[in-house]
Amino acid sequence: MDELIMVKINGMDVHFPKGKTILEVCKDAGIYIPTLCYDERLKPHGGCRLCLVEIKGKPVPLTSCTTPGEAGMEISTESPKLTRLRKTILELLLSNHPNDCMVCEASGDCSLREMAYLYGASLDRFQGEKWNLPIREDNPFITFEPNKCIACGRCTRICNEVVMAGTIDLVNRGFNAIPETAFAKPRSLKNCEFCGQCVSTCPTGALTDKKGRGKGRAGDIKKVKTTCTYCGTGCNFFLNVRNDRVVRVTSDFEAPVNKGNLCIKGRYGYDFIHSDERIKTPLIREGEGFREASWDEALSLVAGRFNAIIKEHGPDKVGGFSSSRCSNEENYLLAKWVRCAVGSNNVDNCARVCHAPTVAGLAQSFGAGAATNSLEQMSDIDTIFIIGSNTTEAHPIVSLYLKKAISKGAKVVVADPRKIWLAQRADVWLNMKPGSNIALINGIIHVILKNGWESKEFIKTRTEGFAELKAKVEEYDLDRVEKLTGVSRDKIIEAARLYSQAEKSMIVYGLGITEHLTGTENSMATANLALVCGQVGRPSTGIMALRGQNNVQGASDLGPLPATLPGYQSVTDPKCREKFGKAWGVTIKDKPGLKSVEMLDECAKGNFKALYILGEDPAHTDPDLHHIRKALDKIDFLVVQDIFPTETTKYAHVILPGASFAEKDGTFTNGERRVQRIRKAVGPVAGLADWEVLCKVSTLMGYPMPYTHPSQIMDEIATLVPAYGGISYKRIEKKGIQWPCPTKDHPGTTTLYTETFARPSGLALFMVLDHVGSGEVPDETYPLVLITGRVREHYNNGSQTRHAVGIIDLVPEELVEISPEDAQSLGIKNLDWVKVLSRRGEIKVRAKVTKRSQTGNVFMSFHHQSTLTNVLTSGHRCRISGTPEYKSCAVRIEQLSQE
């Protein structure tokens, strides 16, 4: 690979690959160099001048952070002269720094203090006037003490270079240089993403997390490394624990995915852990309400009722929903429980309502239903093709990689009906009509083939079914595609050129692909596009399906699916049934069970009797809520295990308290297939973790589950799921591993399909697809298309983020986004109250007039219990996987007279 070169550092030979700076070389070799303005996440800056080193033959010392190592250099990192220089620099800094380490929030975690000590900087040589500026508290999450600022510029650079938010910059010159917002406006300015990256990089106590102030400093805190419980990116961080309470979240700079960066939810969304509203004891229904119960009483009731119903109606009338919020181990246990203790295949997980089409679609095209590449590779993409993903809001940390690629010059194609952040910066924005994905992609492939831009070699050697695809896309000439998608032909041609002609192009998609009538087909369409251009099977290419929840990938991998056992091993395959039957000591049913949506349909008809819902809230998040509520009303026995009361717990017969991610050991698998640890930082509020509860229920029902620690469950998974074969807690202690990892010495897989595809033939398959459109299209009574999605600050049903101080103040309510044109024709002004109506229901909400919406489309999220958006969404589902069509339904908006 890279050529190794050698330098001498302090007399010692050090070898390293060309292209590293002297500082990086020293860091790798364990040689200390003091730094104040350096952060691995930033471009070298060279401002603080502490990292000066002497190089033989150079007249003056050079900054090691900016100087590349060159063969033969003889470097000294310490010398009396350097000590003198560093001491002077530190003394100059201290001359304008309050000497209040005693009460400083950063005490114990301050680089300035550490270096002053190391170099014996004194406070006497330079004594004079100091800054006396007031403390700034104008950001809900960040306290800024300007007097402690050493103007290293790390905060301003991370805000501009990495986050690209542009909230702050160093203003003023010389001695008065200070990080400040434009025109000294409050820091809660609209463009602040509240990511706290600035806080994470500040070397002093100038920037601190407001919510954690006074709650414990480095010395009194236990730091527990864990994985974020919000989206599927898989960020690691430290829970800072004092007196069995999480008081703060701090960055883990070694984290493989996020390198210390976090979003508002990960960094500031932890309050829910200790919320007073948590469910703290088991609750048993009594008349219209609930009464508190002991674990013993509740669990025997649950086990007894399940057993009785199974006896009376048979196991096929009983099932369970698992949750991608829960750990791999818990998902595996629930899948096992349904198969063993209940005896049916009626088990599903909430990926059904988001990424089941990815699993189904990509599995058909490529052989496995997972993202093909690694997030880190995104920074080297040449053309980014983003379709149906508002990445900067739904996956802020993934978007940092895209931003990095953009700053390195990557071309950007965004296909999205909304003018999102990325669309504003795109080279081509394909402003498609909702539901026209297949037409658009077929049109792009049509252009590619017409111009000979395809990769003939790749098509020939790695794929099958090309002739059929070619014949089909022939029909999608641009006249037709323009009509179907609403996108002009020049844009389609340019997008085709940029995607096909780049060395490395990657498709990034989100729920805008999957949550459609044709969700599975949409995902296969993206696969077609990648295959035609040979943009898969290499680093920085492929298809990254961005997973919405922390463990969507793991929940699907580990078996709570009606047709497959853990590891996507089919219940219809006798070999698989035999393998699991033997391991579990039961007979596995050979008929696939019901999907979650089907179980609810059966409930509504009175045909389904008992359900165990682990960590899901279908009565809030599923579409067509009236239907769901009817279903839940009808059920004989419903157990809901959750951390908060939700819309669904209202229907339960028994509510079991869940444990949050901070209260248990386990693993999550992120969207790039990386299996990572979560760790118990504080005790479960109700005394038991979810996996323990499942074990007890199962054991009481007569199928013993005698695990004493989740690591034993993972060891069992490793014996049964080939892709997880090499994974154990010991191996992922420091860094997670990306599956497939078949053996104990396998390093894991960053890029799938480098040699062959996972289909039996080893070739990828082109799928022939046709435009179908949305299940419900606008008409005269319901003339607008409602698109649903996320906002950055909130998460899913909001049960966690709505309990976070700061976040809920920032985004306290739902708003319906509407274009200025539509607003004008309906006589609606910004923040007016309106009524949104669909064929299924109506809700009251305030309007946000924004150019993000194109005429004819409106947008809402579904994070607020006070505004149940899903009253409106339709009952249409993906024709193959059953995922609801959240992304488009027809609505009408009426103005409400001002109150």
């Binding site: 401002g47 001048r49 220089l85 002077t88 100059l92 160093l170 010159r173």
Partner: protein, 426 residues
Amino acid sequence: MEVKILSAKFDIKDAHMLEVAKQHGAYSQLDKLFSMEPVAVIEEVKNSGLRGRGGAGFPAGLKWSFLPKGLNKPVYLTVNSDESEPATFKDRYILVRDPHMMIEGIIICCYAIGCHDAYIYIRGEYTSQVKALQKAIDEAYAAGYLGEKVAGHDFKLDVTVHRGAGAYICGEETALLESIEGKKGQPRSKPPFPAVEGLYGCPTIINNVQTIASLPYIIENGAAAYKQYGTEKSPGTHLFGISGHVNKPGMYELPLGLPILDVIEKVAGGVLNGKKLKAIIPGGSSTPVQTPEDAKDLTLDYESMAAHKTMFGSGGIVVLDETVDIVKLVENLAQFYHHESCGQCTPCREGLGWILKIVKKILRGDGTSADIDLLVELCDNIEMKTVCVLSAACTMPVRSYLIKFRHEFEAYVKKGASAQANVKQG
């Protein structure tokens, strides 16, 4: 002693107007230029020995030849008209009196380096100058000397004027680039040098106004003609701004290599009112000071300046007579550089402030001899240890005053000490 090459049209009425300038030879070299190969142009400039007139004196032709070849990226030229160094006032004459000479120079340079987009970065305070310049550019566009086809040749060139906002640091070439890019003017760490990664990450040549304005003469008359002026290593002529205590302050074009004392005497009319000469700042405020003794054999060229441990700088000569208080002068100097520090390097941001504070303390009568030593040490710990040389532009002259005029600092210390003793006794 004076020669008129750059200043040939300065005294001609309305020479800033295209019609008049053309009558006096403006744009007459373009046919010749376009008949040459670009490499030949670079070669000619190299042979002329023309050195950058912005302060550092880097050979212009050599700088151009550092541009990487075969990159699939545009090449930019930026002309540095920030002219903010105290005591420097030469480029403004070109901008106002003969802007077409510079525009012709820009065409020459751009053709040589393959640039189709040139920027002129002009000091924010130059309000009348920017008007004059823009008018000249508009005229040049209208007459077809700029635009799609320069003078009818198959060469496209656009020139954009970018105004500064009053920061000295934006004269530093990489801060200048940041400023054009719309960012805060802060110097970049080098390498990479602008010739490799400059404006918007593309190869960029930055030259001073006077450097560029020297090109038409070289193309017209050839390298040899240019070299007949000046010394072997410092060929050509220079616009010197002579100010301070002289009888005839002003801007004079002189060949390089003349003895500085002769120039002060014969060109600038000698020290004002027959006072005694105390010191000379030879090339702008950032160059180390010369005593009359030092200056005896000092000539106005790069080699002699280096031999005298000072610098040619930007040709701004300041004459200081016996009445000048050196400590107050240093206060003034430190005040300027401290104010102009961009603030990204700790030693410059904090250190220049402390130089100022300590000098003020000495002036107040509160200083000690140790403070004078601390000043020298500070200079040592700051100089060449920062991203750019603004800090050195302060510490180099400050150190020279501290060493050569230490007695004046000591005098303040003594005076202060006795005053305090009196207070105590009283």
